[in-house]
Symmetry: C2
């Protein structure tokens, strides 16, 4: 073992000598992916400045989105157009504003801010920006372990007996960071949920619902179809966006929700805005056209990023397939690979990587309060670097992770 660590340290010092600057921290599309959508700025897409029902898109009006945009997302999320609202650039804002609304005005009961300490369930590992929103509003977060099928629903059912548990936030398909998709069994458990709090809300962040890496992909389950069987549809607020379909910096975001929830959100929106950017909405509808158009477009993304996912998984396999202390996910879509290093080694691994010029998402970031109880989980975002950079960065990550393990066992 002394030999091994000496060898690894020599390799590590060599990497350091390269003065690299590689980044696998954030789920950003690469430059080649952005270029796939450059047709969207073609003025021909918005010629005449009219949506299909004749609305002048340059002027005021249209609170909930132009007809063709609502239809596009109604096809993607498989709900009626009237259960869709189209917003501005970020689904993060849609979630933030919805939770702010619940804090100030409630979601069918007293305002959340007037109900004392309230809590949210957080399947882990999860998305750091979800946890930031909840922490910002002073909502206590409770970790819910997940496996390859989704969150531990027995534990969820146990916790929701407590009426101060007001919600759960999750990415049901190609989750951030594990890449897993909730199984039909888990979807059914969600749909049949019976929370003690009647103002309980599941924030169902379907950020990656069309983001398959190949034809061998996970199945999309429409939560509202399942929820209707149990009459639980008011408990679900679904969001999605085109951030990783067209441009993260200039996309559109949507919410899908029950009639009752759409009505309450619109009631707030009539005070908050006259309408979101309709020109960008029409650009999106005209460029993506319909569900088939989106599918075809996402295949182009997949062609660019599948080799990156493959490269990371190959490197992890080459290094650790014989070492049961390491495990990782092999997602069929989304933007992330989740790596579990031995307990107590994640922070050290990320630190070693950083010193060698490889930036990873901070260890712990995938847990509420940035606190990974096992200091084990590392999120890998493979899309932004070039394939060569990514291969080198993953090689360095593997060396760092093994050094961290050996240091710990010393």
């Amino acid at each position: 073992m002394a030999d091994r660590i000496t060898e690894l340290r020599e390799r590590y010092d060599y990497y350091k000598s390269l003065n690299l600057s590689l980044n696998m921290a954030r789920g950003k599309p690469g430059a080649d992916q952005l270029a796939l959508s450059d047709g969207i700025i073609d003025p021909a897409l918005i010629e005449g400045f009219r949506s299909e029902d004749g609305t002048e898109i340059r002027n005021y009006g249209v609170l909930d989105g132009i007809t063709e945009c609502k239809r596009l997302y109604s096809e993607i999320l498989q709900v009626k157009p009237e259960n869709i609202i189209v917003f501005g650039n970020a689904s993060l804002t849609v979630m933030y504003d919805y939770i702010a609304q619940c804090m100030i005005f409630g979601s069918g009961d007293k305002p959340w801010s007037q109900q004392g300490k309230i809590k949210f369930l957080c399947p882990v590992p999860g998305y750091d920006r979800h946890f930031s929103i909840l922490e910002h509003f002073g909502i206590e977060m409770i970790n819910i372990p997940t496996d390859s099928e989704g969150p531990d629903m027995d534990l969820v059912d146990e916790y929701i007996k407590d009426p101060s548990v007001k919600g759960l936030i999750c990415v049901p398909m190609y989750a951030n960071p594990t890449g897993i998709t909730f199984s039909e069994r888990v979807i059914e458990r969600f749909a049949s949920i019976k929370p003690a709090a009647n103002d309980f809300r599941v924030i169902w962040d379907n950020a990656y619902c069309v983001h398959h890496l190949s034809d061998d992909c996970d199945k999309f389950y429409n939560i509202f179809e399942y929820a209707e069987k149990y009459g639980t549809q008011d408990h679900f607020i679904e969001v999605a966006s085109t951030s990783k379909i067209t441009y993260p910096g200039a996309g559109i975001a949507v919410m899908a929700a029950s009639d009752k929830n759409i009505e309450s959100v619109k009631k707030r929106m009539t005070v908050q805005t006259i309408g979101y950017d309709k020109i960008n909405q029409l650009r999106h509808a005209a460029f993506l056209k319909n569900r088939d158009g989106v599918t075809a477009h996402m295949k182009k993304h997949a062609a660019l990023i599948k080799p990156k996912f493959d490269a990371v998984i190959k490197a992890l396999s080459d290094s650790f397939s014989d070492d049961g202390d390491f495990s990782w996910t092999e997602p069929k879509g989304g933007y992330f690979i989740s790596l579990n290093v031995p307990e107590g080694c994640a922070k050290r691994t990320v630190e070693l990587c950083k010193e060698a010029g490889v930036t990873l998402t901070g260890a712990g970031a995938t847990f509420p309060y940035k606190n990974d109880p096992f200091d084990s989980n590392i999120r890998i975002a493979p899309t932004f670097p070039s394939l060569d950079e990514l291969k080198l960065a993953t090689e360095i990550l593997c060396v760092c992770a093994e050094i961290a393990k050996l240091e710990k066992n010393n």
Copy 2:
């Protein structure tokens, strides 16, 4: 007088027989005005997809706006670029979100929602959507009369001795609906304000700060320049937007504020979004260029809408210049003319207009709770109809107003 009302009713019946549908209700630009900005969709403006500091505008990033957009508004509002934040399409949302932030987190003291009944001062007549935001959050509104120089500042100083008075909301230049601009004396009074509540905020909605109707225009006063003399700059939150410069349906909005307030808003924004639409920001900066570019562009708007303002004012003068019961403003900019009909006659006038096919902003809308204590104020929005339509609509309005007066005196 019997003759006069008979004559007016005959004319009224004639107008009704025309089955008109004319709208002077909302401050919407006309189609000719929208066309002035159609150069903004030219792909050449965003070629290369880089802001001037090299930022890739298609991807994630840039919380507070691209450099050239902050500079553009820093020139317009005469504050430093670091005191500007650029947002999405609507300054209404910027105001809503700021007040929501004060409700949940406060503005330097306890959250407003935890301070019992709180109040805002509302110069009247004012903007209905301002009042909607305050009503939505349950903030009590207090009318402050205005004259041609601005709000009654003695009354403001009296009210702000009450620490439950948390703010004031106003349009300081070419106000909605009066079109008046606060005089330097009033600006100085604002700047030297000494509210009992240290978390008092003036929402300074400079929606029309570059919207002159001709070279004979009102002077722009930079409230922050005045406030600095008194150290009161933290009390002011200024907003503006391009809604009536480029497109109401696809513009950008900005906030200008003190270092401390910018910091607290950014702290919220880091949780709420990764960034607003940077492509639209670059389009705006490249199309409008700088303050001179905006000035030149606004002259084109003025050329189209000045004749409309003139037509309304001429019709009002022709009908009522000898009748001291009627008065109206003659703004040098903005989007509205404010008409005062005899007390108790505004609702009836608007109702008569509606029956004759002329839609006006609801009587009372220019006051909190839609309650005009004198039932006297009518807001006229002359920009959206064509000049011919507008002339006819104003003619009808004059007839209806006079009928209402004569009915009342009967």
